[in-house]
Amino acid sequence: MNSLPRYWPILYILYKFKEIYGHFFIQKYIFLAKVEEGIPIKYGFLKNSYGPYTVEIKMDFLNLREQGLIDSYFSFGLNAWVLKIKRSGENWVDENINNIPQKWKDKMDKIINKYGNWSRRKLSDYVYEKHIKSLEQDQQFIDELKSDCSIFIEKTEPLLMSHNALLLQGSLDLIMRLLRKAHILEDPIKREQILQNIKYYLEEIGQTLAIIDGKETIITELNLNDLEEDFSLIEEIYEELEPEAAQR
């Protein structure tokens, strides 16, 4: 399973369709398979004018064409690129089909059956409404949270050093790092959950800072066990996003 190359979804989709008219569709099917069905696809998507897009698919596509597994040509009649799987590409899928977990294949088939006959316009509108619009709204939300976080960081800087002060400063530092990364989360549900967790945690910090309100010395005496417990949730999210930096 781990030995599967990241380009397997390109070949699998072309194997099912035999030919597709335009890179747009390949990009969107793979994006939807990742975000709606949760298939662990290794491509990372960014928002561009055509919706979610990754240059990695394009690069893999060119490499696969060079290897002779697929082919593409521009059809003036269709006014689109025609992407086709070649015999050697089909052989690759036949040889590797058993390495692809059955549930991934089922999920990929579900995406193909659900969106496979949609027009470009319909698919484009759907992806925007369902996934990109929320991303844009979330970006606004992220910016608001970042602004709150910056204000709190400023307020906690002059606190006298103590375990509680370090808890506030350290957790705000981590939240800011998370907010800087939040936009890369493609799964809108997960993104929403993370942002809500951060919002809740920042509210708790806001309440704590209101209690301190200039009386810096009382911070040492406050019982922040609840805050500390809630912070462990934020840390879990960070560890998932940044396993390389995971401290615990």
Partner: protein, 220 residues
């Protein structure tokens, strides 16, 4: 160093306890994208304190501190020392990659070490609050030192006005005196004025950590 009775316990100040706990594995960022696992120790003192503790355990000498000092370490001491250490020239890595989150993580790991220490059979935390008149006496003693150059320089260096140590440290001195326990310390509030403190019988005995080259000296 000679003892006027068999030593069965030694009192540790906050620094000695923190140095003992300051030994933990952490993940440190060393460049823009690289992290490594390191064994983080407080230079010199962690090894020295571990050597002393091992020796004392072998000799069945228990280690004590008082509850208010212990609580202060948990609330403030560890965070202060972690922060100072990371910003000091002794920190063996580039501190620009160490944010407040990393500091918090190091401090939390040391808190765990502190809990482990409290569970050791040879380590005891004594509940103790000195009478106010005894506290006042210690404060008066330290204020009497305000005229000596050593104290003037000490306060200047620490950017402090009051010569007396913290309430917790004053209690530690009194506990040492009342229980005839030597106090192992690396705190300049104690070690710089060792001679004056012992001469005025403010504390039973101060043992400066920096002077211990061989732990066996503690029980001779």
């Amino acid at each position: 160093m000679t003892q006027d009775h068999d030593i069965s316990s030694i009192l540790f100040d906050a620094n000695c306890i923190v140095y003992h706990c300051f030994h933990t594995k952490v993940r440190i960022k060393i460049s823009h994208s690289k992290h490594i696992n390191v064994d983080l120790k407080y230079p010199i003192f962690t090894d020295q304190i571990h050597e002393i503790v091992n020796y004392l355990c072998k000799c069945c000498v228990s280690i004590k501190t008082i509850e208010i000092v212990w609580n202060e370490i948990q609330k403030k001491g560890l965070a202060i020392i972690v922060n100072e250490f990371i910003n000091s020239k002794d920190f063996p890595f580039n501190s620009k990659y160490i944010g407040n989150y990393e500091k918090l993580n190091i401090e939390k790991k040391l808190q765990t070490k502190l809990q482990e220490l409290s569970n050791k059979p040879w380590f005891k935390i004594e509940p103790f609050i000195a009478n106010q008149d005894r506290v006042d006496k210690v404060i008066a003693f330290y204020r009497s030192l305000l005229v000596i150059e050593k104290m003037i320089q000490h306060l200047k260096k620490r950017n402090r006005k009051d010569p007396e140590p913290s309430f917790e440290d004053i209690n530690l001195l009194i506990f040492s005196k009342e229980n005839k326990l030597p106090l192992l310390s690396n705190d300049n509030d104690f070690v710089l004025f060792q001679e004056e403190i012992e001469e005025k019988n403010i504390c039973y005995r101060i043992i400066p950590l920096s002077e211990i080259t061989d732990p066996s000296i503690l029980t001779k």
